[in-house]
Structures are given as C-alpha cells and as structure tokens.
C-alpha cells in the first residue's frame, strides 16, 4: 500500500527508473515523444503491461520465496522456527544488543504497523483511483484520436466518391458550352440571312423603281404630246360639238323625265 502510494506516478520508460529510494517521480507516459531513429538506447517497442501484483511478501519484510524454499523439507512452520532460532541466537550471544534504540525501534514499528493496517486499504483504493483516472484520460485521448482518424478516413472516402461525380459535372459544363456555341452559330446564321435578304430586297426595290419611273415618264410624255397636238381650231370645234351634244342630252333627259 505504501509502495502503491509511492508508485502512483511512477513507471516511466524501461531504462529510466531511478536508482535509490525516494525519487520515484517519473511520470507515466504512454506516448513516446522523440522522433529520431535508433539514436537512443531506449527501445520504441510497445511496453508490456504492468504485472498485476508484485512478488509476495509475508509480514511485510520476508519474501515468500524463503517460505517456499523451506516448505518441502520443514513444512509450514519451518521458516518460523528458523526465525525464532536465529532471534534467540542473536539475543543470547548479544549480536543484537538491547538498548534504548530497541525501545525506540519497537515504538516506531508499532506505530507503522498500526498505520499500515488501519489506513492501508483506503490509501490503496485512493492510489488505484488516481491511476485509473490517468489511464482513463490517456485512453480517452487515444479513443478521441482514433475516432477523429476514422472520421478523416470516412471524409476522404466521401471526397473520393465526389471526385467520381466530377466527370458528370464536366460533361454538363461541356454540354453548356456546346449549346452556347450552337446558339451563337445560329444567331450569326440568322444575321447573315437577314443581311443578304436586305441587300437583295434593295436591289429588287431599285429595279421596281426604275420600271415605275420609266412608266410614268412615258405616260407624261404621251400626254404632253397629245395635248400639244390638239390645235386651237380643233379645240373650238370640239367645244361646240360638246355643247350641241350636251343640249341633245338635256332634251333627251327632259323628254324621258316628262314621259
């Protein structure tokens, strides 16, 4: 539990764990930052996951391996008997001397053991929660980047699909341009026809005018010559004849009116 507290921000890269107790402040990093190739001694392979539990330790200071080592020969109580024997030996030969420091060590040991037994699980749960939060955050970052990359792939595919449609767009545009060209051509065709027709009409009108003028001139000339050919004597005779004709006509109408 204590080491879990200590390790709550530990586990850096493979070869960067520090030497000596008390400096475990290496932040957990799941993303390698350097970009060089084969220049540092650190390997860039993905790290294996941390083991769940560490080596087993009994009573806080004795590794389980000693108990396993002595189990075949001496059973379960073997290591305890060994410990008791060693303790008695050291006390009786005064290899371990009992003095004021023994009392101090005993008090400190009692306090430590009480603290660990009482607050151990809660501290361990707290440290676990911190670790889990960190892992969840990193996982979230990874998930977000994964989803964004997947989204980018989808968008890219959609763009590729759009590019296929671009050919149809160009066809439509080409049709537009062709239609414009056709319209222009036809307009010009119309213009040419109109102009040619105008010129031809002008020529026709000109000819008609010529013919008409000739006709009028001829008629005028004939009239003039006819009038010129009437002498004054003939004119008197014709006038007298007209008067006698008119009198005759008047007599005829008078008789027809009274009859």
């Amino acid at each position: 539990m204590l080491s879990r507290l200590v390790v709550v921000s530990a586990h850096g890269l493979k070869s960067s764990s520090p030497l000596g107790a008390g400096c475990y402040v290496v932040s957990r990093s799941l993303v390698q930052a350097s970009r060089s190739l084969h220049t540092s001694s650190q390997s860039r392979a993905p790290l294996p996951p941390l083991p769940e539990k560490g080596g087993q330790v009994r009573h806080g200071i004795f590794p389980e391996e000693i108990f396993q080592l002595l189990y075949p020969k001496t059973g379960v109580t073997g290591p305890y008997m060994l410990g008791t024997g060693l303790l008695m030996y050291m006390l009786s030969k005064e290899i371990y001397v009992i003095n004021h420091e023994t009392f101090a060590a005993a008090s400190i040991g009692a306090v430590i053991i009480y603290g660990v037994k009482k607050f151990g699980p809660s501290v361990a749960a707290f440290a676990d929660k911190l670790n889990d939060d960190k892992v969840a955050k990193a996982q979230e970052v990874k998930d977000v980047s994964l989803t964004s990359l997947a989204q980018a792939i989808e968008d890219e595919k959609k763009e590729q699909w759009r590019v296929e449609g671009r050919a149809m767009l160009f066809d439509a545009k080409r049709n537009n341009v062709a239609m414009q060209l056709e319209t222009n051509y036809r307009e010009r065709l119309h213009m040419v026809t109109n102009e040619v027709k105008r010129r031809l009409d002008y020529q026709v009108a000109l000819q008609n005018l010529h013919i008409q003028m000739e006709k009028e001139h001829m008629v005028k000339w004939v009239e003039k010559s006819v009038i010129g050919s009437i002498t004054p004597q003939q004119e008197k005779e014709s006038i007298a004849k007209c008067i006698t004709d008119l009198k005759a006509l008047a007599r005829a109408t008078q008789t027809s009116a009274t009859a």
Binding site: M1, L2, S3, R4, V6, V7, A10, H11, S17, L19, A21, Y24, L50, P51, E52, K53, G54, G55, Q56, V57, G60, I61, P63, S92, K93, E94, Y96, V97, I98, N99, A105, V116, G120, A124, D128, N131
Partner: protein, 88 residues
C-alpha cells in the same frame, strides 16, 4: 563442468561444491561491472516489488528493513559497548 556454462547460471541452479568457483567467476573486475551489478540488482528489485499495478507494503518495507539491518551492522562496533554481559 564448463566454466563458461557455470558463470551463466543463477544462484538457484548452482550446486554447493561449485559455489566458490561460481563466486570467483561472478566477482566484478572493473568498477564499471560493480556499478552494473548494483544497477541490475536494483532493476530486478524494482521490477519485482515496486513497478506493479497493485503493490503492497512489502516493496518499501523490505527496503526499510534492509536499511535498518545495514545501519545496525555498520554501527555494531559502537553497539558492542552497550552489551549487558561481558561473556556469552
């Protein structure tokens, strides 16, 4: 017994009569080897007891116990004066 093969084996695989030879094979000859041995030992301990998801009191407890034992051994000549009896 090939001495090369002996030097590679760890302590658990060495037989008792080969022990002196094994020790002489493994003693460091260069200060750099001493440093490497110390660093390798620390790495082994760290990986086994501290660098885990759910560590226990054992990881730090064994370090403290080792520290206590080592400092007692180093200060034993001074402690000898506090003996209760002269002859044992």
């Amino acid at each position: 017994m090939s001495s090369g093969g002996l030097a590679q084996r760890s302590l658990a695989q060495v037989k008792l009569r080969e022990l002196p030879e094994w020790l002489t094979c493994r003693t460091p000859s260069h200060p750099r080897e001493v440093v490497e041995m110390v660093q390798g030992g620390w790495q082994w301990y760290y990986k086994k007891y501290i660098d885990v998801k759910k560590g226990g009191a054992g990881g730090l407890g064994m370090l403290l116990a080792g520290y206590c034992a080592l400092s007692y051994i180093w200060s034993y000549p001074h402690m000898k004066r506090d003996r209760w009896r002269k002859y044992h």
